[in-house]
Subunit: 119 residues, 2 copies
Amino acid sequence: MEKVNIVEKLSLFSDYWNPRIVGELNGQQVKLVKFKGEFIWHHHEHEDEMFYVIDGEFTMELRDKNIHLSANEFFIVPRGVEHRPVAINEVSIMLFEPKETLNTGNKKSELTQENLKHI
Amino acid sequence: MEKVNIVEKLSLFSDYWNPRIVGELNGQQVKLVKFKGEFIWHHHEHEDEMFYVIDGEFTMELRDKNIHLSANEFFIVPRGVEHRPVAINEVSIMLFEPKETLNTGNKKSELTQENLKHI
């Protein structure tokens, strides 16, 4: 039962597309992740995913539109919806999603992170 | 499927202790709330609650310690744990909790908000 400082936690890592777990509640996890570049198209069969921008900006590409997100904005990708995050510059994100959520969803690739670290 | 701007949503209301719903995912809700003053002691039987500070600061009083929280910090109050938020000045908070969560938990009072607005 300690508070979590997001800025402090973000200073602990610098790699991209590799979420860290910073909190857990009600079967959900709070994660921090840094994006830069283009991710892969994927979807999550059973999980809705929330992306909240802490610092920077990125575009969530969907098949029928793009959502551009900046600091203090969030977007919820509903389960089943294909998406691909793209960031021209580094962006820091807070994620909320069920703890079973795999970062690449239905696609296994070299970007898949199976054992996320708690920091 | 639209993005949500937290700062914009916070500008839409000014009353205290009255959470607004701004998102929903996996049976959980994302809420925004402004605190000022002292709330009541209560707990939630079945829900863990996350308090993320957007702007300002407040103290989460627990029976055995106080947690002081500022912008970019969050605290998760586990189910069953008595707590009381206290804010000397106005503070803006983002909440994550199951959609069944009542703001005053096990205590019904004039502060209880039964029908939260979606904004």
